[in-house]
């Protein structure tokens, strides 16, 4: 079972359709899926989920940047996590990184620097962000564009982040994350 966390501000009633549902459509091809808003998620609400995907949000929406205390469950949940855009930025902030202004909108070329389970070599990705993440030393950088870090993995945990939106033009990356940590419950 996958938990997709809706990272959109309650101020934007449209973020769910644009940034969450496309992920759900991809995930449901492989697994059952539940969506919870980030305000509903805490340490005790994660039971039964094999892995967790944090959605992106609208360009104007940086609401989770100031609410990292609500995401402290990321540190000890022990589950594979993939953060997309705002999801990645929030993961980075929770683990001691910081964000800086970096606007990229549209298709961007990125290059892989470290072997990983999600992608390899160079790829074109859809970017939609006003901020880049400067991750802490707890993370390896997996990929970069000419301007900023595009993908990270925690050195000890199965916690990943991608700054781009794989649900738009790189859906295989979402599927690879899910397949990598799928739990086979057949007897």
């Amino acid at each position: 079972m996958i938990l997709v966390v809706d990272m959109n501000s309650t101020e934007n009633p449209f973020g769910f359709h644009e940034f969450v549902l496309p992920i759900v459509s991809i995930a449901e091809e492989l697994e059952k899926c539940t969506v919870k808003h980030y305000l509903e998620v805490n340490e005790t609400s994660l039971n039964g989920y094999d892995n967790i995907i944090l959605s992106g949000s609208a360009l104007k929406d940086t609401v989770t940047f100031d609410q990292t205390k609500r995401f402290m469950w990321l540190k000890d949940c022990g589950k594979p996590v993939l953060g997309i855009c705002a999801g990645m930025q929030t993961i980075g902030l929770v683990f001691g990184g910081r964000v800086e202004k970096c606007r990229e909108i549209g298709m961007i070329d990125i290059a892989t620097f470290k072997e990983n389970i999600l992608f390899s070599s160079t790829l074109k990705v859809y970017a939609l962000h006003n901020y880049a993440l400067l991750p802490s030393a707890e993370f390896n950088v997996l990929a970069e564009s000419a301007n900023c870090v595009y993908a990270i993995k925690h050195k000890q945990k199965e916690v990943y982040g991608v700054l781009f939106h794989p649900e738009v033009r790189n859906i295989e990356i979402v599927k690879k994350f899910i397949r990598a940590f799928q739990v086979d419950r057949r007897i």
Partner: protein, 226 residues
Amino acid sequence: MRLGVLFSGGKDSTLALHKAAEKAEAVCLITLVSENKESYMFHTPNIDVTALQAEALGLPLIRKVTEGKPEEELKDLDAAITQAINGFKIEGVVSGTVESVYQAARIQQICNRLGVWCVNPLWKRNQKALLEETVAEGFKTVISGVFAYPLDKKWLGKQIDEALIQKLVSLSEEYGLSPSGEGGEIETTVLDAPLFKKKIEILDSEVEAQGNSGVFRIKQARLTEK
């Protein structure tokens, strides 16, 4: 949230308007009239019908003519959205983009620069499901342009119903067309929809077609009671 809707008068922008109006306040329509028929950004057949559609919807229309030169036309869109911000105090812009990152990225850039929300209620939705939704919701939509093989003049002016959707889906599987015309294969004009207070009646029209390219042009139309 007060919203301005990028409105071509076709099924996608009209459905996006309906979805936006469910959760926020749609206060104006914004139409770019492109003089370039090949424009990747703004659709052209029957764009003048948007004035009648706006009247049917009871919404003010900001109408701006653009030469339609790639990238230059974005300045005209920027100006039209700025006019909506100043004139109608909009806080967000609604687009009916489904798949095109070319369109989506450019609208996002303008909204970002102007500091307004960019709302895409149809983004990444299944195209067949969107077509079916318009029929189920009671949209009366006609095909007003065909621009790809094997579509031809037989399709022009046809109303979109379940049977037509099935044909479009079959063709999309066989020839790789986008079933909802997202790749510009078909253009549509909405004559009636739930938010229309009156419906559009076509009084005079013509078909202009050559091979796999053609338009169904509405020459004269009026609003009638529903």
